[in-house]
Symmetry: C2
């Protein structure tokens, strides 16, 4: 697949580092969210986890009766988001992305299928959102599905400006435990529904 | 990974056939469930989908700037179930398995992590269950998480006898559309909660 420009290396290396070198986690947004979810599970606050990376398998070897080795596969365009789970009986669903830009989050980072997924979750009574980190600014935002979908109705725009996050999204502060306490914002969203 | 005896071929060929030869679907339980979920989505009754197959990627090639080819990967033991989604605002979560046995469903088909996952979904207010098909008998059952967890409390047992399904589970009849109308049972479960 073609990764959107500028995100290719990040996306693949994060998949690899997460799988192969578990020690590296905690440095990226993904690592911090995995840690936060682990913490939420440990204190039995919520049960939220990361979905497997979607791939298309085209060649499999069976060197012995019990072992299968995938010899060729491709990353496929994700049709859902990365994270989902349960909090206070509610379906939680979100996508997390980093950007190096200081001025805008490029919409090429979110695929059409993912947008439809977010719409569907929203429509069917789940709580969906994006967690976007502007790494250069060291700012992490939670943008609700409603505010995200409202913005992209205007099909002309290719990116969401940083100012829209400042205006509409919730700033998530880095802390010790959990690293990113996004459920505090979800509490507000549940209260406001 | 080691697949439980007797399920290896099925599991892998179903992954491959689903990805590579889309035409073959509809023959297996997985195919029928995918069709049913597609139907539920089309009539906007529910939004339930299959998760990607979990794999561990160990080698990736980048033949050109935009393309990544996975050159080595392994199937990993699933830590969650195959299907989840939303129905009437509820979190729905289930695992589907076929067995050729006429007398019992082997518990080696359900991994420890999946059992914990089902427990967690249940505890956090989701609706979790198993859909088990006895292919030789041509019988498909929905077994609720509660009845499943109740049964496996007795750690001595290595399988769930067919009689337990007859007694506790809901028989799902094959029909035209949706192929397997398991949400009819979920309606009863929601009513009974």
């Amino acid at each position: 697949m073609n990764y959107p420009k500028g995100t290719k290396k990040e996306a693949n290396s994060s998949i690899l580092s997460h799988e192969v070198n578990y020690k590296n986690r905690g440095m990226t947004l993904e690592g911090e969210l995995n840690d936060s979810n682990e913490y939420y599970r440990a204190i039995e606050k919520a049960y939220i986890y990361k979905k497997p990376t979607p791939i298309k398998i085209t060649k499999v070897d069976y060197p012995s009766r019990d072992k299968a080795v995938i010899k060729e596969a491709f990353f496929t365009i994700p049709s859902t988001t990365d994270y989902n789970g349960l909090y206070k009986g509610k379906y939680i669903d979100f996508e997390a992305k980093e950007t190096k830009s200081k001025t805008a989050f490029s919409l090429s980072n979110i695929h059409q299928h993912q947008i439809r997924h977010i719409e569907q979750i929203n429509k069917n009574g789940g709580i969906a959102f994006l967690i976007i980190r502007f790494t250069t600014l060291n700012e992490t935002y939670l943008l609700t599905a409603n505010d995200f979908l409202e913005f992209i109705k205007d099909q002309e725009r290719k990116s969401i400006p940083h100012s829209y996050f400042k205006e509409k999204a919730y700033l998530l502060k880095d802390q010790y435990q959990p690293r990113i306490d996004y459920l505090k914002v979800v509490d507000q969203l549940i209260g406001g529904i």
